[in-house]
């Protein structure tokens, strides 16, 4: 069993070795560089006293606490705060200007509304007057029409009378002619009678 386990480990080791051999040419120079500087740096590390590391770790953790409490990273930096102040000022000014514009617009609207109301009232008055005048004119027109009608009727009547009169005149003329003729006849008869009597 142990031998089988050793064989298995040997297979894994062979695979790992193959991978390492392939990567060796690329990664090993980097690893060597790393080893060189690390060996140099590790000379300065204490090799038996663990308290130094404990102290360093505690100092780093306390520093971390202090730094995070003092600068949690949610406070805006100076230049951004200034930019924000300027933004706020601009916003305030914009709001003030908006208010002023709104007030002015309201004033103007009120004035315009007043003017419109005045004009409406005037127009309504004028319309009323015009309507009254129109009514009066209509009434006069109607009166005139009535009068015209009356006059026309009278004219017609007169025409009829004239016609009657003309007819009568004609009749009278005819009668007069007849009478003249009669007179002439009578004259002739008188002359005849005179002649006869003579």
């Amino acid at each position: 069993m142990i031998l089988q386990a050793v064989d298995f480990i040997q297979v894994i080791a062979d695979i790992v070795a193959a991978v390492l051999n392939f990567l060796k040419q690329f990664v090993n120079p980097m690893g060597l560089f790393m080893v060189n500087w690390m060996e140099y740096v590790l000379q300065f590390f204490p090799q038996k006293d663990l308290t130094v590391y404990i102290i360093i770790a505690i100092v780093i953790v306390i520093l971390g606490f202090i730094v995070n409490i003092t600068w949690p990273g949610n406070k805006k930096p100076g230049f951004l705060a200034k930019a924000e102040e300027i933004d706020e000022k601009i916003e305030k000014k914009a709001k003030e200007l908006d208010k002023k514009v709104e007030d002015k617009a309201k004033e103007l609207e009120e004035k315009v509304e007043e003017k419109v109301e005045e004009l409406d009232a005037k127009i309504k008055k004028k319309i009323k007057k015009a309507k009254k005048k129109a009514k009066a004119i209509e009434e006069k027109a109607e009166e005139i029409e009535d009068k015209v009608e009356e006059l026309e009727e009278k004219a017609e009547e007169l025409e009829e009378d004239i016609e009657e009169l003309e007819e009568e005149a004609e009749e009278l003329e005819e009668k007069a002619e007849k009478l003249e003729e009669d007179i002439e006849g009578l004259d002739e008869e008188q002359e005849k009678n005179k002649e006869k009597s003579n």
């Binding site: 990567l23 690390m38 949690p72």
Partner: protein, 171 residues
């Protein structure tokens, strides 16, 4: 994030790093020190056991404290960048400590009823070298992050606080 949440986050990560860099390796090496397979005692003949535990504890403490500082710092801050770099460098030293303390060359002795019948030797040195190469790249990355945080500090802070210079459009 507020100061309280920052500190809590830092403490959580510190605890995680304490477990990963100290508790698990110490328990592993203590367990490996003397264990049995199929009734056969395999004794870790590592004379520098104390040495391994010392370096694990030393760098574990430093890494955990650096992790506290790193993870409690605001995102993309210079102090986060600095301590992330410090933490990576300490990680390298921690990994390297396995090598120079002898932990990468573990020598097991197979003991059957007092008498030694053989040994198993496991050498992790090449693996550690490979790991160092990977860490070298990580250090470069963290260094780039650090310089990025320093050079673009203003932009990062503007983004963090979402302030538009020149006022907000009210329309």
């Amino acid at each position: 994030m507020g100061r309280f949440s920052n500190i809590v986050k830092g403490i959580i990560y510190m605890c995680v790093y304490i477990v990963i860099t100290m508790v698990i390796p110490i328990l592993t090496f203590t367990w490996v020190r003397e264990f049995q397979i199929m009734g056969v005692n395999i004794v870790l003949t590592q004379h520098d056991y104390q040495n391994i535990i010392f370096w694990i504890s030393a760098f574990g403490l430093l890494i955990s404290s650096a992790a506290f500082f790193n993870y409690s710092a605001p995102k993309q801050s210079i102090r986060k960048g600095t301590f992330a770099l410090v933490q990576i460098i300490l990680n390298c030293l921690y990994i390297w400590s396995y090598k120079f303390s002898g932990a990468t060359e573990i020598h097991f002795e197979i003991v059957v009823e007092i008498a030694s019948t053989g040994y198993i030797s496991i050498n992790f040195q090449n693996m550690v070298m490979l790991y160092m190469g990977v860490y070298f790249l990580t250090i470069i990355l963290k260094g780039y992050d650090f310089f990025d945080f320093v050079l673009n500090r203003k932009t990062i802070r503007e983004k963090r606080y979402k302030t538009e210079v020149g006022g907000n459009d009210l329309s």
